[in-house]
């Protein structure tokens, strides 16, 4: 972090984080066999909104970029605003080999504009017996963690611990449980 970054309290993200996201492309296949969950074809990236007009233009650019990239691969893009005022860009397409690079390019655009701080997480939805399971990629930690919501505002901790144990060899799993923050009402 440079002097100016420190002065303006801009946090820069470690570079290696970007590669870690790509671990999901190969892990998805293995997770189906070992953990009994399979990709549902929905994944997304969530970031904080800025009120300014520049942000709206930027978001529009990103959505256009995603649509452009996605179309050739048959991906569709959803643009959602959640209850907490966070911006979600959701990609619908079954193949993580195609989805992850597109999500990554959205994140990169924000990073290049110096808005890396806004980036919160990526979410990958999986189907399991009895509901959905999510793998969340936190940009702050650069690690993945499981999130299995059940019912209203509850999570299945046993299943999350199981998923984390099984995925450990394939994904960089966040080792500190206190950082496994929930994403209630996740639109992915």
């Amino acid at each position: 972090m440079g002097f100016l970054d420190a002065l303006f309290a801009r946090t820069s993200l470690p570079k290696s984080n970007e590669d870690k996201l790509f671990a999901m492309t190969t892990a998805a296949v293995g997770l189906e066999a070992s953990a009994g969950i399979r990709p549902s074809g929905r994944s997304g990236v969530v970031f904080k909104r800025l009120p300014a007009g520049r942000f709206d233009q930027l978001k529009k650019d990103i959505v256009d970029l995603l649509r452009l990239q996605g179309e050739s691969d048959g991906l569709t893009v959803e643009d959602r605003l959640d209850d907490l005022g966070f911006q979600w860009l959701i990609l619908v397409g079954p193949d993580f080999q195609e989805v992850v690079p597109v999500i990554h390019s959205a994140a990169t655009t924000l990073l290049e504009e110096g808005l890396g701080d806004l980036l919160l997480a990526c979410a990958f939805r999986f189907e399991r017996e009895g509901g959905a399971a999510y793998w969340i990629y936190s940009y702050k930690q650069g690690n993945f963690y499981p999130f299995v919501p059940v019912g209203d505002h509850q999570r299945d901790n046993a299943e999350e611990l199981r998923l984390a144990a099984v995925a450990k060899s394939e994904l960089p799993v966040e080792p500190i449980l206190e950082r496994w923050y929930a994403l209630w009402g996740i639109p992915v």
């Binding site: 969530v46 969340i136 901790n157 611990l161 199981r162």
Partner: protein, 299 residues
């Protein structure tokens, strides 16, 4: 001997003090007998009988002191059902089932052999855990019964007492040889010194026993994982029992990190000295091992 899951410092301290005072009582008693010229062979027989009585009755005594009530199949049908299923699965005779009226979530197994085994759970654990987690905890207790841990630990503490007694006897032989010529005050002084040394020997063996106990906990965890095939159920039960299920937060990533890049996470420091005296390994270590088993199972 009692096996427990989770860490409960109050109980641990009480248990340690009870055992320590019990051992001190033995040592004072034996030392006094020997000191007053009663033959060594006779003392050893008496000590043996006392320890044998402890071995046979201590489990019942401990249960009694904890207020464990044996329950019939009518009173706790689901619990009995679960215990019966685990017994069938492990090929053990079905142990007796007891419930302890306590809000502290805990479970234990006692009994010197599988035929006399008793599994006790607190009302707190029945409330805290779901069926599968409770099954994992009971399977852990079953593993203790299978491994005959109650016997192993009773033997170990027996030898600890014997060892410190031998030290005591040896010192009396060396120091007390010419005590006839000394006055009463001197005798009192060497009595205390010798007693302190043998108490120290006992305390050292106590630490060693605790080490042994922690290894037996790991194997009981492993046993539970093998019996249920679901290590993560035991893992989440352990988290719940330890009151640290909140470690996986309920709070939302968006509300927590909104504009908050200065947040610091408390570093978890665990005292290794504390673990030295504990009968159970730290939660972190147990969770790590369970995780390893989970990933081995899926392979």
């Amino acid at each position: 001997m009692v096996k427990r899951i989770g860490t409960d410092w109050g109980l641990n301290v009480r248990m340690f003090l009870t055992l320590f005072l019990l051992a001190c009582l033995y040592l004072v008693f034996m030392g006094a007998l020997y000191r007053f010229g009663i033959p060594l062979g006779f003392i050893i027989v008496v000590a043996g009988l006392m320890l044998l009585a402890q071995y046979y009755f201590s489990d019942r005594l401990i249960l009694l002191s904890m207020g464990a009530q044996e329950v019939t199949e009518q009173e706790a049908p689901q619990l009995h059902d679960m215990v019966g299923r685990l017994a069938a699965l492990t090929g053990l005779p079905k142990p007796k089932v007891a419930i302890i009226d306590s809000p502290v979530p805990n479970a234990m197994a006692t009994g010197r052999n599988p035929k006399h085994a008793l599994v006790a759970v607190t009302t707190g654990i029945l409330q805290a855990l779901d069926a599968e987690e409770l099954e994992a905890v009971l399977a852990h207790e079953f593993s203790h019964v299978i491994h005959r841990d109650m016997r192993v630990m009773a033997m170990a503490s027996f030898f600890a007492t014997v060892a410190s007694f031998i030290v005591q006897a040896g010192l009396w032989g060396g120091l007390g040889g010419g005590y006839n010529e000394r006055d009463d005050r001197d005798r009192g002084g060497s009595f205390i010194v010798i007693f302190l040394i043998s108490a120290a020997v006992w305390a050292i063996s106590f630490v060693l026993i605790r080490t042994l106990s922690r290894y037996r906990e790991y194997s009981a965890d492993r046993g539970s994982a093998i019996i249920t095939g679901q290590p993560s159920k035991l893992a989440s039960a352990l988290l719940k029992i330890s009151g640290r299920m909140e470690r996986i937060p309920d709070s939302d990533l968006r509300t927590v990190q909104a504009g908050n890049s200065l947040m610091i996470f408390p570093a978890i420091t665990r005292g290794s000295v504390a673990e030295l005296f504990s009968t159970h390994p730290s939660l972190e270590h147990r969770l790590a091992k369970l995780q390893e088993m989970e990933s081995n199972l899926s392979r």
